[in-house]
């Protein structure tokens, strides 16, 4: 496996994971507040793009809704500026409005950082909106469908 022509073996594990970032469906938090999980507080405009106020950074993790946690987990992951995103149902806990916001943010990110994403979804409409290529997993095999 290679990233920008560099074999994965030349990266340390942590360095590789900063470049090839995985967003899991279940997100974990280990500090009391959301803000403590960021090296640098996200810009207010960035938070606003996901319908989040700056006060969310000071609030307790266990008081956050699943939707807030999911959106903040995405921002936390993007702080590393990864080249490849592995997104496991990144909008599963979101309502339609926030779902669109997250989709747009990710697509903008990919364009801006010349990155790519492998994105799993159960939502046919979402796939039509975002995907440049589409594969379907059926019976343990991967089938290319028309995008």
């Amino acid at each position: 496996m290679r990233l920008d022509n560099t074999p994965s073996g030349l990266f340390t594990g942590p360095a590789w994971r900063k470049q090839v970032a995985l967003l899991t469906t279940e997100n974990f938090w280990w500090h009391d507040t959301f803000g403590a999980h960021f090296h640098q507080a996200p810009e207010p405009e960035l938070l606003a793009r996901l319908n989040l106020g700056t006060q969310i950074l000071q609030s307790q993790v266990h008081l956050g809704s699943s939707g807030e946690r999911q959106r903040l987990a995405l921002l936390r992951l993007l702080q590393n500026q990864p080249k490849v995103l592995l997104l496991d149902e990144p909008t599963a806990n979101l309502d339609r409005e926030n779902k669109t916001l997250v989709e747009q943010l990710i697509l903008d990110y990919l364009r801006r950082y010349n990155a790519c994403a492998l994105w799993t979804s159960h939502d046919e409409h979402q796939i039509k909106r975002i995907a440049s290529r589409h594969f379907r997993i059926t019976d343990n095999s991967l089938l290319a469908t028309d995008a």
């Binding site: 594990g13 970032a21 997100n27 974990f28």
Partner: protein, 266 residues
Amino acid sequence: MNLILLTPFDLALTASLIVLLALITYFSKLGITATLVIAAARTVIQLMLIGLVLKALFANAQLIWIAVMSLFMVMVAGYEITARQKHRFTGLWSYSIGISTMFISSFSITIIALAVIIQPDPWYQPQYAIPLLGMMLGNTMNGVSLAVDRLTTSIAQNRGVIEAQLILGYSSQTAISSLLRDSIRTGMIPIINAMAAAGVVSLPGMMTGQILSGTAPMEAVKYQILIMFLITASTGFSTVLAARLTARRLFDERHRMRLDRLRTLK
């Protein structure tokens, strides 16, 4: 002052206290009666045996026999450490970590204490060497087994959080640093408490023994201070080392968590 000799009847009388305790735990269904009785029986048998061994060893004080005895003690302590773990490494890793850390710390500190500080003649005189090593190993073993058990348990319990940090590109050292700190503290707290309470709450066992056998209190105190410091150093070094080795074994060179290297007892 002469030592008052204990008769078998004296010991039988004390044993009746254990029997009483066993009965109470049995009828209260505490589920600890068998463990209690077996441990009490082990105390009698093991101490009787060691009494015989020491008698023979003292009569025949050659370095080779003392070395054999010491190595045996280190091995048993290593086994005990492993036996107290809820999560153990597959293969011989748990034994190796326990035995090697005690060898590096307890064993070498005992030798330094004998050869440089106490200086009996010869330096390996078993009346000094064996009890000293025994006290070191007993305490060190407790510290190491507490720390390692705490570390493996907390890493297994916090698997999700640790993996989330690894996913974000944290190194394994960073991801478990607070758990490692906690586990080392857990291992060292008993001996630190023992130092803090020494003389005020409890008279340490060795000092009590020396006083009972007629040593002047200040002489017994000096020995106890020496022993306390040696034990603390031995426990501390071993605990730090064992916890670090354990942490290292739980991750591989790609900083992946390797809980598959543990097997869990129910």
